[in-house]
């Protein structure tokens, strides 16, 4: 009112305001897609964009980490248009052209998380603060992944988790900036219980040995719930330290516990050691409760199977992916990886490779590196052609929903790599669950400034 009294009409106010906006240079940002200027952490300004890969190159999951690193380097190669392109031709989204990400060549930094949360967090922080990483990916331990994911949320950097199977990663510890392509313990329970019931009967007594951290706890809970629901009884659930090496003192009590199934909630070298030691103790040759004693390894990888040798034969488990799947994408990835490294990719290699591509694709579709827009591009994203069948990145918890494999150690492997066979593909509809069964909040989209 006051302005109008001084002779300024509404039209003049609007004209003056618009002129000021244009004059101050804000207009280009208002009308241009991706106009978030420097207001986010590590906005790439040069002709390269840096991705940070953190892996366990030492520690209990070091075998997994080595394959994870191979996969990340292959993904970078393909994103930059080198090599045979891997999964770019089979990926249902066609925005990746092999010219980097948004025209910027992809660079990378790597670090060793030592299979320890604090080391992983430190490595990720270094990559963000010192190396300018725009995205962090990696981990093959849920403890490490959850720690890195929380850091990335604080610093405003997107985290594409590697191999993390704990329900907590996309459950109570889920974060807006964290995304998981790998399946989880709940889905393992859903997938494997009917197969175990079919193979071993519904009147069994199970003994759990469990890695004493978030992944072990949630897998134990999920497998217990799923097996008890079909009639199995849980005799005992014993926690074991990560990286124990010698599990004999935990295996001897199993002998006369009244159990007829041993469920090993162990992964990596721990899984290899506990399985081979359990077999050495003659558990698989025993009779208990009038039945053949059985061992189950609910989460198994081909790397573990190779390490376990003879002990893996006939053992049931679940997996995210297997290089012997006969779809075009799995074949393309196996050929690409095998040609470069002389061995087939493991499931951690596949999930890590896919995560790197999914991030790049989301940036391309969003048209910007601005994290909130990239997050929105990933949330609810439906895709195919990555080797897992039709897949959804669920918006509510950032968990990928796709089929789950139930696998078994092959009795007569034809090569050293032919160690697991897929006995059942559990469809996405069966592996699906209500995201609200787990607590936790994703948190805000707000882009932090590396702090």
């Amino acid at each position: 009112m006051t302005l109008l009294k001084r002779g300024l009409t509404r039209r003049r106010v609007l004209q003056t305001g618009m002129a000021g906006i244009i004059g101050s240079g804000v207009a280009p940002l208002m009308f241009t897609k991706g106009a978030w200027a420097q207001e986010f952490c590590n906005n790439p300004t040069g002709d390269t964009v840096t991705l940070g890969f953190v892996m366990p190159l030492t520690g209990a999951y070091a075998d997994e980490g080595a394959d994870q690193q191979r996969a990340f380097l292959l993904a970078v190669e393909h994103l930059n248009g080198e090599g045979d392109g891997g999964l770019l031709p089979t990926f249902s989204s066609k925005v990746l052209k092999g010219n980097g990400i948004l025209g910027k060549k992809v660079a990378y930094v790597t670090g060793d998380d030592q299979t320890k949360s604090d080391a992983g967090r430190d490595a990720a922080r270094r990559m963000i603060e010192r190396d300018g990483a725009i995205m962090i990916s990696g981990a093959s331990s849920s403890g490490v992944a959850i720690a890195e994911q929380a850091l990335c949320q604080e610093m405003g950097v997107i985290y594409m988790a590697g191999l993390t199977h704990s329900n907590d990663t996309t459950g109570k510890d889920k974060k807006r900036y964290g995304f998981r392509h790998f399946f989880n313990a709940y889905q393992s329970g859903t997938a494997i219980a009917p197969v175990l019931g079919e193979a071993y009967g519904k009147d069994r007594r199970a003994y759990h040995l469990t890695s004493d951290y978030t992944w072990g706890w949630t897998q134990e809970e999920s497998i217990k719930n799923a097996t008890e629901a079909m009639g199995w009884e849980t005799v005992a659930a014993v926690r074991t330290p990560v990286g124990a090496g010698d599990f004999s003192q935990y295996i001897t009590p199993v002998l006369n516990s009244g159990a007829d199934v041993l469920i090993l909630n162990h992964y990596g070298f721990d899984g290899v050691n506990s399985l081979t030691q359990a077999v050495q103790f003659g558990l698989r040759d025993r009779q208990a409760n009038g039945k053949d004693f059985q061992i189950v390894l609910p989460l198994v990888s081909d790397l573990m199977a190779q390490g376990a040798g003879e002990a893996i034969k006939g053992i049931y488990g679940t997996a995210n992916w297997d290089w012997q799947l006969d779809d075009a994408a799995s074949g393309a990835f196996t050929r690409s990886f095998g040609a470069k490294y002389g061995q087939p990719p493991s499931q951690i290699a596949q999930t890590s490779y896919v995560q790197a591509l999914l991030y790049a694709d989301a940036v391309e579709r969003a048209g910007t590196f601005y994290p909130p827009e990239v997050i929105k591009a990933l949330e609810g994203f439906e895709f195919d052609g990555m080797g897992n069948g039709p897949t959804l990145y669920r918006a509510e918890d950032h968990q990928c929903l796709k089929e789950v494999l139930v696998v078994q150690g092959r009795e007569n492997p034809s090569t050293t790599f032919d160690v697991l066979q897929t006995v059942q593909k559990v469809g996405r509809d069966v592996a699906d669950y209500d995201a609200s069964i787990f607590e936790g909040e994703l948190g805000p989209y707000d882009a932090a400034l590396c702090a």
Partner: protein
Amino acid sequence: METILAQLLNGLDKGGAYALIALGLTLVFGTLGVVNFAHGALFMLGAFCAVAFRQFITYETVTLDPTKLSPWGAPLEIKTPMAQIWFGDFGAVLINWSVPISILLAIPVMLVIGIAMERGLIKHFYKRAHMDQILVTFGLAIVLQEVVKAIFGANPISQPMPVELRGSADIGAMLGLTPGMVTYPIWRLIYFLFSASIIGAVFAFLRLTTFGMVVRAGMADRETVGILGINIDRRFTIMFGLAAVVAGLAGVMYTPLVPPNYHLGMDFLVLSFVVVVVGGMGSLPGAVAAGFLLGILQSFASMTEIKAIIPGIDQIIIYLVAVVILLVRPRGLLGRRGVMET
């Protein structure tokens, strides 16, 4: 009864490893007065003698079979161990029995390493404070493990036991219990017997030979033995080498139980020092007794029933016992007056 027997057996095989390492530690401390934090590294080096021997005899030649393709389209690689090419069936036997055979390699290698370690570094610290000795030997342990890491990588390397020894023995049936209720892996039983044999051999060497008698005399009164014109320093150097061999052999035979990595020594070092302290500094029988005692306690503490009452007790039982022993019997179970006392 069956459960207790199984845990007892487990404690004995665990205790065997603890006792062997602690025995070597005590030998070094008793003779040279050095607190050797590199002793765990000697256990690890012994394990890697087995790894190196196996890698040598399983070194493979690769030939390509153009008639068959790998899943990624390359000609199929056919790998044949060199030992099999050179020695035929005997090569296969060598590979199968590589762990026991590598004992023959480990004995001279560890003896040389032990003597070199003592002459090259540790002898310069005899008259220095225990803290200096701890620092230098701990530093040496880190250097050794980093060297092994650089050569063999960071990952554990599996060492298969001979096929013939992979099964388990029905100990329960042997003792008149229900057959099949107490089975125990053959290799673990062998490890226990091996430990007991080595311990027996060391005690026999010290008790029944002139060399051992002089060493024991030197441990009791070094100056007087020296005055008698005996070169006690040289004998103590040999004892250091012997301690390295004992630790190395413990490491060799341990490899089929847990795949060794460069960190194996550190994993055992702290435990072994606790064993020595519980047994009594400088007491060889104390080290052996405490090794087996703590192995058995650790095994029983891992029983489901015990863990249900005190969760996590399996992780702290050894240290808990050490605290109690230090409180009620500061010299340890069989410790002597005046050792590490002012």
